[in-house]
């Protein structure tokens, strides 16, 4: 049997397809992307090495700064809000028996729907003459907010609106992750804490929370990478407008690369995005992940 499991041909048969695909479609392009980021490259001109010029250009690019700021805002907002609200929903749902599945499934529903379609849907809800603004006008509010058109403040209103829509769409996932972890905690631990005189909130604070800490790391890195990759909702709700104020890294990359065909420049944005993704994942796993408890 050992001979069979060491058969070189069998190993090649099982490993080669995945290895080739992974290398050719994922790994080589990443390396190429890094190379292109040091090149001047567009539809008409082949790649020509120009050193760090693309990165210098990025630093003086106003839209890039806005995009980076917005992406960072999304990152922080989604990590914090998804943690808080996801945990809150999970805590509520684990306290009821009847109808738990119904509520759980309703809250999870937007996670499986196309965010392109949902983006369009919310775009209409926040458009000036329909949806919420119309409802407010009918109720007697004189000048309802401009929602997706407003440009005042450091974090402008459209960003908050989009961030809330994103929270609405994806909080179900965080909720489910925390619920899965909470229901994995053994009943006897809970009972022990009740016998020791803990109230329900105290049990949640001192027993449940420490035990779901590893899941916090998992959920947070999922949220963080998701929020950095964020594209569909913004593209369909504002397309980066008004005046590039709601641009994020992914939409900026798309604009530069495929509207203006600046491949080299867009690759540099992609490299920044990649570094951010890797850094954030490592950071969260270092800071949040602690020892695993026996459950």
């Amino acid at each position: 049997m050992d001979k069979m499991l060491r058969n070189k041909k069998a190993i090649a048969f099982f490993m080669l397809p995945a290895f080739l695909l992974f290398t050719l479609v994922l790994f080589v392009p990443i390396v190429q992307s890094v190379y292109y980021s040091f090149c001047e490259y567009s539809v008409l001109t082949p790649p020509k090495y120009i050193g760090l010029d693309n990165y210098k250009a990025i630093l003086s690019d106003k839209t890039f700064k806005i995009a980076l700021k917005n992406s960072m805002f999304f990152l922080v907002f989604s990590c914090v809000s998804q943690l808080a609200l996801g945990l809150f929903f999970a805590a509520l749902l684990t306290n009821i028996e009847k109808g738990r599945n119904l509520f759980k499934n309703i809250i999870y529903l937007p996670c499986v729907l196309s965010s392109a379609a949902l983006g369009l849907l919310w775009m209409f809800i926040f458009s000036p003459s329909l949806g919420i603004s119309r409802l407010l006008e009918d109720m007697g509010v004189k000048e309802p907010p401009l929602w997706l058109m407003d440009t005042k403040g450091t974090i402008i209103l459209p960003m908050w609106v989009i961030a809330f829509v994103a929270l609405w769409q994806y909080v179900g996932q965080s909720m489910m992750l925390y619920m899965a972890q909470i229901s994995g905690i053994s009943k006897s631990l809970m009972e022990a804490s009740y016998i020791d005189g803990c109230t329900k909130p105290m049990t949640f604070r001192y027993v449940t929370l420490p035990l779901i800490k590893p899941m916090v790391a998992t959920a947070m890195s999922l949220n963080a990478i998701g929020s950095l990759k964020f594209f569909d909702l913004i593209f369909n709700m504002t397309e980066g407008g008004p005046n590039h104020k709601t641009e994020v890294l992914a939409t900026h990359l798309y604009q530069q690369g495929f509207k203006y065909s600046k491949y080299g420049y867009a690759s540099a944005i992609g490299v920044v995005l990649l570094i951010l993704c890797l850094a954030v994942t490592l950071f969260i796993n270092k800071v949040v992940k602690t020892e695993q408890y026996e459950m």
Partner: protein, 303 residues
């Protein structure tokens, strides 16, 4: 022992059969949340049956009469039928291939003995952290070059890697591999050694062991990874938008985004288009919601 259990039951509010006041508050709160989740969808559903004029005069009232004109128009003008079919083709092909290739690699890593299997696993796992945006430009230019090369040098006309569904299947499939390999590796390495030894005694070769024993036993894992892959690819917008410009090859999210936009002024049709895009998912979700939610969560927990 039994008396202490009773005490615990009395102390633990959740084990009482009666609904406590706290739970009533929870139910009220959850109902409000559920309404905020369903109301936007119901509103669009309602509006999609109205005429364009009605939308602006009374956006919140029920439609005067129900017609499916908006739907039939959106279906034909937005090319949504072709788009749905394209999406289905792309997603099913990448689903089947990623499950097959991914579990083959997972089997190779977890069950076959060779140096570097650990290293290979690490190599595949790094793929989970890489956003698809980073490979957009190199893939786009590479596909064009390959097409040109094949057309000019090999003399095969009509070969198109750009602007074809293949250009979507390749990256979708590849980006699903890391999670598939990761989850399936877990399943395969937890299978008992005796199983494979037994099969070996009975004279099964390595391919029979994989296809007839390990793969069927790992079907829970296959379901989970397949679900994640399918949902993710079905909703993917960026790649599909960049790689496909031919109207007849666009996938559903792209056709929808193109149809619903600033150049279209017929709101009721746009609402109908949105509904067409999400109704199939909602129906499937309603039918298998518990399985879908648990499957996707299991996948995310492991990933």
């Amino acid at each position: 022992m039994s008396s202490s259990k009773k005490e615990v039951a009395a102390l633990d509010p959740s084990s009482k059969k009666k609904i406590t006041p706290v739970q009533i508050v929870i139910y009220v709160f959850l109902t409000i949340i559920a309404v905020t989740y369903l109301l936007p969808l119901l509103w669009v559903f309602n509006v999609s049956f109205k005429t364009n004029k009605e939308i602006f005069t009374a956006p919140f009232a029920l439609p005067e009469k129900i017609t499916f004109d908006n739907y039939s128009f959106a279906w034909t003008a937005g090319n949504l039928g072709t788009a749905s079919l394209n999406s289905l083709i792309v997603c099913v092909i990448s689903l089947v291939l990623s499950m097959l290739i991914g579990s083959m690699a997972a089997f190779g890593i977890s069950r076959l003995h060779w140096k570097g299997s650990k290293l290979a696993m690490t190599y595949f796992l790094t793929g989970m952290m890489i956003p698809i945006h980073c490979v957009l430009i190199p893939l786009f230019t590479r596909f064009a070059k390959v097409t040109q090369f094949v057309n000019n040098n090999l003399g095969i006309e009509g070969f198109h890697l750009t602007n074809s569904l293949t250009s979507l299947v390749l990256p979708y499939l590849t980006f699903s591999l890391p999670i598939t390999i990761f989850i399936m590796e877990g399943f395969f390495s937890s299978m008992p050694n005796e199983l494979i030894e037994c099969a070996c005694m009975e004279g099964a070769n390595i391919f029979q062991i994989f296809f007839k024993i390990c793969l069927p036993l790992g079907r829970t894992g296959l379901f989970v990874t397949g679900l994640m892959t399918f949902v993710g690819n079905w909703n993917e917008l960026l790649l599909a938008m960049v790689f496909i410009s031919d109207e007849t090859k666009k996938t559903l999210p792209v056709s929808l985004s193109k149809f619903v936009g600033p150049y279209n002024t017929n709101y009721s049709q746009m609402f109908a288009a949105i509904m067409i895009a999400i109704i199939p998912t909602i129906i499937v979700y309603c039918a298998f919601s518990n399985k879908i939610v648990d499957g996707l969560t299991a996948g995310a927990v492991k990933g």
